[in-house]
């Protein structure tokens, strides 16, 4: 079962490698991982998606929490949450029409005579379907950011 974990960690050299290392060390999977500094520059926020049953996810969050550089951890799936992902796609311009782009809810972020770059934002499942569709148009390159998540209730991940 897919789970989304959010965590705050010290914005220190080596902190990310401790988080990532923990996963390989203990045999957990990372499906996606996204990380950036927060408005408090001493902290970074990370969202990762992983697979596992309740017991595995509990172990993952406890082991993450044990890392000295990790300030707070939350299994977002414990309550309502929003998950979004960004996807950028490069196509030959003649492979897609502007009507098709509009139907797919894409946004043109760059174009010249030959190349067009599109941006899509949505839930990962929706992007999966878009990828299937876009694959029929011989895309030159597709890049996905991995999920970012936030709970959709009053609960917050803070220090």
């Amino acid at each position: 079962m897919k789970r989304v974990i959010a965590l705050l960690m010290e914005n220190q050299p080596g902190a990310l490698s401790r988080v990532v290392g923990l996963f390989s060390q203990r045999g957990y999977n990372i499906e996606t991982l996204i990380v950036a500094p927060t408005s408090d520059p001493t902290l970074s926020r990370l969202t990762m998606t992983t697979n596992g049953d309740e017991k595995v996810v509990q172990q993952i969050t406890k082991q993450l929490d044990k890392l000295i550089d990790v300030v707070a951890v939350s299994d977002l799936g414990e309550s309502e949450f929003i998950e979004r992902e960004l996807m950028l796609v490069k196509l030959n311009k003649n492979c897609i029409t502007s009507d098709e782009i509009e139907n797919l809810e894409g946004k043109v972020v760059f174009e010249d005579k030959e190349i067009i770059n599109l941006q899509f934002v949505g839930e990962p499942d929706k992007l999966d379907k878009l990828v299937e569709n876009l694959n029929t148009k011989e895309p030159l390159e597709i890049v996905r950011s991995g999920s970012s998540g936030i709970s959709s209730n009053s609960k917050t991940l803070t220090i």
Binding site: P13, Q59, I68
Partner: protein, 579 residues
């Protein structure tokens, strides 16, 4: 708060002094030379020169385990750092407070594959509680403060401080201030258990008819032995200790079941298997305890007290998980239970059952009375002789293998911190250097290293260190001319095919070897000589003695759990098993 101009190297040593460090174990090298020069100019912190960095970390670890204070090792970059890795992993698996300071190449050279450069932070990452790469000299005091705080609190563990050479340069000085306290927003170890959970535990304890207390290394680490004994006495619950927990409950107490697990006693393993309540304290349901976790103690409710929340329900589901320090949680249990009426009579049938198990298949603690027909000395007899001669009061360190299990089974440890061994990682080579750490901490006490001819050769170079510092360690070598535990498994599971577990007459004369290092060597190969030789060995208070005893090479360690089964599946001897 003192404020003086110091170099990074001086700041490092002064900070160690502020943390109460009196001695450190280490080995110099290029990247650590500024630190060594700072050591030379002071007398607060003594440096012990070992012969290999693995020895330095094990010695610091032995010091830490025997005293409860953090042990410190100092090594240089590159090979010095990588040689320290086995010591770090050993300390990590047994959760001991060790701080390793490693020199690193100059900061401007990091990442350039410079001479003796190793990414110590990267290499050690999975086997440390935490690590610090010093980014500027001024940070050293605060990093030392944090390192000791992290190493010694919560679930203790090793911490690495990697110091690039330029940050210890004597030509760069700064205002040295040692912080009086530190606040780490991301590190707040659990202390007091949740009162609701404590209450639930009390209820289960009052109801239990077939209880067992199963305590581990966490009780020793947290100095909670007194509280454990109080709980056991108050409830009359039979008590078993893990390999790491031996000594937390007195080995000679009639309530003690002996060690449990892979080579635990019949009565301890049977009691765990048939219990209706297991009170686990500072133990982690390791695979050497549970055997097949799916078949583990199915009829028992489990109360699990551990300072590390990640240990709770990791392997075995805890009905009552209590995250908190062993000392605090046991105190809380004792104080709650003191107010209750405890019906001890209801335990009688259970205690009688345990007595029967013990009479049926318990360990024979009168092995010295046996004269084997083949004329060989049994390894258990050596341990019993050691116990007798040291009156059960020695510090015993051990290496890893059959001798370790015999020592754990046959030496009764009455005090915590008396038994020092590598339980989690199972590090051969741990015994001698860890004994050095113990002997430095307790110069007047008898410190014996129980070892085998395999393990002792993994750190035998430390015999030279022992001579330099006059450490009168007693090395008790159970010499069976084979890697005994490997051979036992090959006997039991590989049709007796002894693949690479014997030496083809290549062993050294250990007595002559010890003598060449300036020590005393005593060889024993007849049972009649064992006790007089042991007496002579232990009586030499100011000499290291290498007692090399030829023991029966065909002896196996029993009981032994049959893998993939419940805890009641035990081999009891070569031809007897429980199923």
């Amino acid at each position: 708060m003192s404020k003086t101009k110091t170099s990074g190297g001086e700041a490092l040593i002064q900070s160690l002094h502020k943390e109460g460090v009196e001695l450190i174990f280490g080995y110099p090298g290029g990247a650590a030379l500024h630190i060594y020069d700072a050591l030379f100019n002071q007398s607060d912190v003594e440096h012990i020169l070992v012969r290999h960095e693995q020895g330095a970390v094990h010695a610091a670890d032995g010091y830490a385990r025997s005293t409860g204070k953090p042990g410190v090792a100092l090594v240089t970059s590159g090979p010095g750092a990588t040689n320290a890795i086995t010591g770090l992993a050993t300390a990590f698996m047994d959760s001991t407070p060790v701080v390793v300071i490693s020199g690193q190449v100059k900061s401007e050279l990091i990442g350039t594959d410079s001479f003796q450069e190793t990414d110590m932070i990267g290499v050690s990452r999975p086997i440390v509680k935490h690590s610090f790469l010093v980014q500027k000299a001024e940070d050293i005091p605060e990093i030392v403060k944090k390192a000791f705080h992290i190493a010694t609190t919560g679930r203790p563990g090793p911490v690495v401080i990697d110091v690039p050479k330029d940050f210890t340069d004597p030509n760069y000085t700064f205002d040295y201030i040692y912080p009086s306290e530190i606040n780490m927003r991301s590190y707040k170890p659990a202390k007091v258990g949740d009162p609701k959970q404590i209450k639930e535990a009390v209820d289960l304890i009052l109801e239990a008819k077939k209880p067992v207390i199963y305590s581990g290394g966490g009780v020793i680490q947290d100095n909670a032995s007194d509280e454990l004994i109080k709980l056991a006495k108050l409830t009359k619950f039979p008590t078993t200790n893990t390999l790491m927990g031996l000594g937390a409950f007195p080995g000679t107490d009639p309530q003690f079941l002996g060690m449990l697990g892979m080579h635990g006693t019949y009565e301890a393993n049977m009691a765990m298997h048939e219990a209706d309540l297991i009170v686990a304290v500072g133990a982690r349901f390791d695979d050497r305890i549970t055997n097949d976790p799916k078949q583990f103690a199915l009829g028992a409710k489990k109360i699990h007290i551990d300072v590390d929340p990640a240990s709770l329900s990791k392997i075995i589901h805890a009905d009552v998980p209590i995250a908190g320090s062993a000392k605090e949680c046991l105190s809380a249990l004792v104080s709650q239970l003191s107010k209750e009426e405890i019906d001890k009579n209801k335990l009688e049938p259970w205690l009688q059952k345990i007595t029967n198990w013990r009479e049926e298949h318990g360990l024979n603690h009168s092995m010295l009375e046996i004269v084997p027909e083949n004329g060989k000395i049994l390894p258990q007899q050596v341990i019993q002789s050691l116990y007798k001669e040291t009156k059960g009061k020695a510090f015993i360190t051990s290496d890893v293998g059959q001798h370790q299990m015999f020592a754990a089974q046959y030496y009764f440890f009455d005090k915590p911190r008396q038994w020092i061994n590598s339980g989690g990682l199972g590090t051969m080579g741990f015994g001698l250097p860890s004994a050095m750490g113990v002997q430095f901490a307790f110069p007047k006490e008898t410190v014996a290293c129980v070892t085998g001819e395999g393990s002792i050769q993994m750190c035998i170079q430390e015999l030279s260190t022992c001579f330099q510092y006059g450490l009168p360690i007693k090395i008790i070598n159970l010499n069976n001319a084979a890697l005994g535990m490997v051979k036992q498994w090959q006997d039991m599971q590989y049709g007796g095919r002894h693949s690479s577990s014997t030496y083809e007459n290549s062993l050294p004369d250990f007595c002559a070897l010890s003598e060449s290092y300036g020590h005393v060597g005593i060889k024993v190969n007849k049972l009649a000589e064992l006790e007089p030789a042991m007496k002579e060995c232990i009586s030499m208070k100011d000499k290291l003695v290498f007692l090399d005893v030829d023991v029966d090479p065909d002896e196996h360690v029993y009981p032994m759990l049959e893998a993939g089964n419940a805890m009641d599946f035990m081999h009891l001897s070569k031809d007897k098993k429980t199923w």
